[in-house]
């Protein structure tokens, strides 16, 4: 059993054609469930993308949804959270800091995460480099907030270790198109195994990147199971 907590549904602007590739991509790596955000919502128009994803989720049962929030459009975000979270097909919030021009340390990102905490669901937040430390600080400041550091800082994974150890409501997921040797093993050795999740960034990145990197870390059976699905099932109550 594998749950992918960082996935997307929809087209990308690069030279690729993967808009319909979710299930086939998951099948290649034995990924049973994926929590997806709509690319349209992440990149351009959050309400339109959330609406399209809601309709798509009605057509199959292996995907769950993130309500994408643009921190610069909090009124729209409130409406979408009210519209989609109660239905059960959306289980969290996705916030991309770059596409929305909302760094982790920005006031609008803090306001958005306050809204998420009030909604009571986890938020997947894009992190890169040292920004994961900012996420830990925000998480500490907002009672009840549970956040996933998307990419666990990518090349800033050592900052992610520090962040996870600073805030017990901060989770890490590892996806990145690069796979430096030993990155996953180093994080696993230094972080509470209850806060490690599996994510791929599919269908932008093929799951081979995260899957292979995690496999290379040689996790114990117990830790592998936690990373693969147990921690995600507990966090999202699925």
């Amino acid at each position: 059993m594998i749950i992918d907590v960082h996935a997307h549904w929809g087209p990308w602007f690069f030279t690729m054609d993967v808009a319909e590739a979710n299930l086939a991509t998951m099948d290649r790596y034995g990924i049973d469930r994926a929590i997806v955000s709509a690319t349209e919502a992440v990149i351009y128009d959050a309400p339109a993308g959330n609406r399209a994803l809601a309709a798509y989720l009605e057509t199959q049962d292996r995907l769950l949804g993130y309500v994408t929030v643009n921190p610069r459009r909090l009124r729209e975000a409130e409406e979408d959270l009210r519209a989609y979270l109660p239905g059960g097909r959306f289980v969290g919030v996705k916030i991309h800091t770059d596409y929305t021009g909302s760094p982790v340390a920005s006031p609008q990102l803090r306001d958005a995460l306050t809204l998420v905490a009030e909604a009571g669901c986890p938020a997947l937040v894009h992190t890169w480099g040292a920004s994961v430390l900012d996420l830990a600080r925000v998480c500490q400041d907002i009672p009840g907030l549970r956040v996933i550091a998307g990419h666990m800082g990518a090349d800033g994974y050592r900052h992610a270790i520090e962040a996870a150890n600073a805030c017990d409501r901060l989770y890490l997921e590892p996806c990145w198109s690069h796979a430096p040797a030993g990155r996953i093993a180093e994080v696993v050795a230094a972080v509470d195994p209850a806060r490690l999740l599996f994510g791929t960034d599919a269908t932008l990145i093929d799951p081979s990147s995260a899957f292979g990197a995690v496999a290379a870390a040689g996790l114990s059976a117990e830790t592998a199971e936690r990373v693969a699905w147990r921690n995600a099932a507990a966090l999202f109550t699925i």
Binding site: D206, S208, G212
Partner: protein, 301 residues
């Protein structure tokens, strides 16, 4: 209300990459380094340790370049590498050697880890390095390497702080093409295609990211000698798209062992939608052909 799903509590290891890789082996990895980066905490990159990693990933031969040559001293670094790949002197105990395989040559084990633990059958193909910060010296070194029978040279523009537009890169590109050397180059393919254009050069771009695949494809369409490593072509359809656009014979498995996880591009290739014959070609056939100086056999229309 939160969604509820049936959770299957399977006993199988969830991240069993080798089950998905199956019997795939890499006949020749085009991107391997001996040595360490002094500005990183990464692995030491001793020959024995690198070859152990390669063997553990069923990588039977590797095109290896020296970080000592790239980062510090070209001549001693290249000589060190060439000495490792020199034919075994008569009478040297067989247990102290790696067997030559394919286009590679014998490699003595070093005392650090013990040759006995290095997989027999792993071969290395020496790749020279030059320093783009010294184009005059680089040209001399290319001549020396070619005279020594080296067939490929590797460029490290990022590590050496050299941009694609610097005169040095064009100069080295011309000299390499003149000598018939295959160039393995790092750097952003959107910029580093240009100094090699119009030379009839054989080039493998080692850092092609799938974000930039479109740029590589349009450049490669005009340059039959342009190839790419698959290391960062890890979107769900990059390999398949590249094979459809310019042919799988332009794709070469590259791992950047020991600084990257070789399992990732291996897994991506094994699970790709390429035909088995194409997968075998990417896993080493193409690299062996390129480094032996053969040209790709194309079916005539």
């Amino acid at each position: 209300m939160m969604a509820r799903m049936a959770i299957k509590d399977e006993t199988a290891m969830p991240f069993d990459a080798w089950r998905r890789i199956g019997g795939l082996e890499v006949a020749l990895d085009v991107d391997v380094l001996f040595g360490a980066y002094p500005d990183r905490d990464g692995p030491p990159g001793t020959p024995a340790s690198v070859l152990r990693v390669l063997g553990a990933h069923r990588i039977r031969a590797a095109a290896v370049a020296s970080l000592r040559a790239a980062l510090f001293d070209v001549r001693s670094g290249n000589d060190e590498l060439l000495a490792l790949t020199a034919p075994a002197p008569t009478g040297l105990p067989a247990s102290g050697l790696l067997e030559a395989a394919g286009s590679g040559t014998a490699v003595p084990g070093n005392g650090e880890s013990g040759a006995a633990v290095v997989p027999v059958g792993t071969a290395i193909v020496p790749v020279g390095a030059v320093d783009l910060r010294d184009p005059i010296g680089a040209a001399r070194e290319l001549d020396r390497l070619a005279s020594a029978g080296v067939r490929a040279v590797r460029l490290f523009p990022d590590e050496q702080g050299v941009e694609a537009g610097f005169p040095s890169v064009r100069h080295v590109a011309r000299q390499a093409a003149r000598l018939g050397l295959v160039v393995l180059t790092g750097g952003d393919v959107r910029r580093f295609w240009r100094p090699f254009a119009g030379l009839g050069a054989s080039v493998v771009f080692l850092d092609t990211h799938f974000y930039h695949l479109g740029d590589f494809l349009v450049a490669a369409a005009d340059e039959p000698g342009f190839h790419t490593s698959t290391r960062l072509l890890n979107s769900p359809d990059a390999l398949e798209l590249a094979a459809a656009e310019i042919g799988a014979d332009r794709l070469l498995y590259g791992s950047r062992t020991p600084h990257y996880e070789p399992l990732v591009p291996l897994l991506r290739l094994a699970t790709s939608g390429l035909a088995p014959v194409e997968i075998a070609a990417v896993a080493g056939g193409n690299a062996a052909r390129l480094l032996s100086g053969e040209t790709a056999r194309k079916e005539q229309p």
